[in-house]
């Protein structure tokens, strides 16, 4: 089946070439980082995690959101999602691979990564994160590939595939919960030290992932013969609406606790995030985009208009990317344990490495979707 990815028109190959160039540039920057250390990034002793870990956190959410097409289809028999469950699963595969790469490039000594398995440490959430992410990758890869093969050959799916897909549902919830626990278990970081972090992570994941899926469906219809159908896209839009509402609600809950109680520690990080620190303009922009997109989604007539829906989906994806992929992680380090507020500005090599990992994810999605579309077109 892999050979189907090797047949394409000029724009297909042009797109792949662009991605490969981005990967090559980022790869060279990463070689420099290996040589000179993480000092070539904008990270510092006060803001010791930045873009890499922020992107990791955001894309765990994108990966987990595959459950939002798998669950309705397999548990509630929502037939409209039959055509797009595989899109969700392959998106999850690409997103998990991106997450693993983000962790790897963030390590000071990446050659020692297997120490995590050599010295298994159950009291570290990082250990559980590694287990849950690799398990999730395996489940989605196997389930996606086997289902695609049954479509290609026309043979019935093997009996064990359904239990595997059902297992992926709680597993998806677990990957993002464990990722939230990485942060919410740290008593010294008041922005993260909140029980609502894991629910908030899930809510923003179930908004940003399906928003991306909507965009991918619209793109596939424009560029290929694949049409997800109006009903599937409409249902995805409904899911995004509910998830975004939940996310905004949970943000409000956080802000209430911080500002009504007036506890200096809780107050300080939120105040810095939204007014004092360098991230404030981005945070306000993200909030405005989320509210505007929410308004579009609330009105059924606007939500049904595909141009408006695409605009809303872009705004939601961008907004939640800024909120979670940057604000939450970088903001968690302000102020430092010694009360310092440091500016964090990513450097060129750092951004190039991040772009290369995005390109790797896009490459995987492109190849998987290309095979999928070719298989469906052959039917």
């Amino acid at each position: 089946m892999l050979d189907k990815a090797l047949v394409g028109n000029r724009s297909y190959w042009g797109w792949l070439l662009c991605l490969l160039v981005l990967i090559a540039v980022g790869g060279l920057c990463y070689l420099r980082q290996l040589q000179e250390g993480l000092g070539i990034t904008g990270l510092s002793r006060d803001v010791s995690w930045g873009l890499y870990i922020g992107q990791f956190t955001f894309f765990v959410g994108v990966a987990a959101s595959a459950v939002m097409v798998v669950l309705p289809y397999y548990l509630h028999d929502v037939k409209a999602f039959g055509k797009i469950t595989l899109l969700g699963e392959f998106l999850a595969v690409a997103a998990v691979v991106m997450c693993m790469l983000f962790i790897l490039v963030d390590m000071g000594q990446p050659s020692r990564v297997l120490n995590v398995l050599l010295h298994p440490t159950p009291h570290s959430l990082m250990f559980w994160d590694m287990l849950s992410l690799s398990g999730y990758l395996l489940i989605n890869l196997v389930a996606g590939w086997v289902m695609l093969q049954t479509e290609a050959t026309g043979l019935p799916a093997p009996g064990w595939i359904k239990p595997l897909v059902l297992l992926s549902i709680p597993w998806a919830i677990s990957i993002h919960t464990v990722t939230a626990f990485l942060y919410s278990g740290l008593a010294g970081r008041s922005l993260w030290f909140t029980a609502v972090l894991a629910p908030r992570f899930l809510a923003s994941a179930f908004a940003s992932g399906p928003a991306l899926l909507i965009l991918l469906c619209l793109l596939l219809r424009r560029c290929t013969s694949f049409d997800a159908g109006r009903e599937a896209i409409g249902k995805l839009a409904t899911i995004v609406t509910y998830a975004l509402a939940a996310n905004l609600f949970l943000l409000g809950v956080e802000l209430f606790t911080a500002f009504y109680s007036g506890m200096p520690e809780h107050l300080e990080s939120f105040t810095l995030l939204f007014s004092g620190g360098g991230l404030a303009p981005l945070m306000w922009l993200a909030l405005a985009a989320a509210l505007a997109a929410f308004a579009i989604l609330l009105v059924p007539r606007w939500r049904g208009n595909e141009k408006l829906l695409a605009t809303a989906a872009i705004m939601i994806f961008g907004s939640l990317w800024a909120e979670k992929g940057i604000g939450l992680i970088v903001g968690g380090f302000d102020p430092s344990p010694l009360g310092r507020v440091s500016a964090y500005t990513p450097t060129f090599p750092e951004v190039a490495i991040v772009a290369a990992i995005w390109a790797t994810g896009a490459l995987l999605v492109t190849l998987c979707y290309k095979i999928l579309v070719a298989v469906r077109a052959a039917d």
Binding site: S44, R112, N115, T121, F127, L186, R189
Partner: protein, 254 residues
């Protein structure tokens, strides 16, 4: 049961799962799920009392820092954001922010030395995915520079900012390398080791030895006759952020 290929695979997979889960339960049981090892296996808890009435009588004194950084090959990196620190001075208002607003006479000096707190329940040890940082039976929180993968989770977890990461190669910044102590490479985390190399030789920490006022008093906190315990009995002492539950072993005498 007939040994068909299907049955063989079933047995193999079942056996592998059983072996894995066995190994997992063993590690979970052995280490405690939340890092609750017995505090002091050998009945010793090393700690330090810093007498703020004696510390920094000379303005700008940093003899403890110099002695420590010289002994442990801590580099002098000019970029403050990449700096590596084991013991250093910070404004008192930053170290004890809660003591900031008070109408009583100033009880804290402008600046005071801080170092790793060698906590009873260290957050860094709890989060480290490779046990590259661990707590010894005598309470010293140790660091293995050769096992550390440089994920910096310990830096996010430490509520005291006591940990430093080698963002750059530290060796060019060593003015007078000490051949008796290892230097570090890029990409690993480090911090104060309570001079475990001197403790092994029966000596106290270098910072305490270097202080002309004797402001830093090191000893066994579990021994009521030890020097730090004697000091703590007579005077009021504070710890950094005790409400977080880490149980710092560094006490500041007010």
């Amino acid at each position: 049961m007939k040994l068909t290929r299907k049955n063989f695979l079933r047995l193999a997979v079942g056996g592998a799962i059983a072996a894995c889960s066995g190994a997992l339960t063993r590690t979970v049981r052995g280490q405690g799920l939340v890092g609750t090892q017995p505090q002091t296996d050998d009945g010793v808890r090393f700690g330090m009392v810093i007498d703020l009435q004696k510390c920094r009588r000379e303005a700008g004194c940093s003899l403890c820092r110099q002695a420590c950084h010289q002994a442990h090959n801590v580099p002098e990196i000019p970029d403050p954001q990449h700096a590596v620190k084991w013991i250093w001075n910070e404004p008192a208002a930053k170290v004890f922010p809660a003591a900031g607003e008070s109408f009583s006479a100033r009880t804290l000096p402008e600046q005071l030395p801080i170092l790793c707190n060698h906590c009873q329940h260290p957050a860094c040890v709890r989060v480290c995915p490779t046990q590259a940082t661990w707590k010894r039976g005598d309470g010293v929180v140790m660091m293995d520079y050769h096992r550390c993968i440089g994920c910096r989770y310990c830096m996010a977890a430490c509520p005291y900012g006591s940990r430093s990461f080698n963002f750059e190669d530290p060796r060019p910044y060593l003015l007078k390398p000490n051949p008796d102590f290892p230097t570090r490479t890029i990409g690993v985390v480090e911090k104060c080791n309570f001079c475990e190399e001197r403790l092994a030789a029966g000596k106290g920490p270098a910072c305490a030895a270097a202080c002309p006022q004797g402001a830093l008093v090191f000893g066994d906190l579990s021994d009521s006759a030890s020097a730090p315990r004697q000091l703590l009995e007579g005077r009021f002492a504070i710890q950094r952020r005790p409400e977080l539950g880490c149980g710092p072993s560094i006490f500041y005498l007010v």
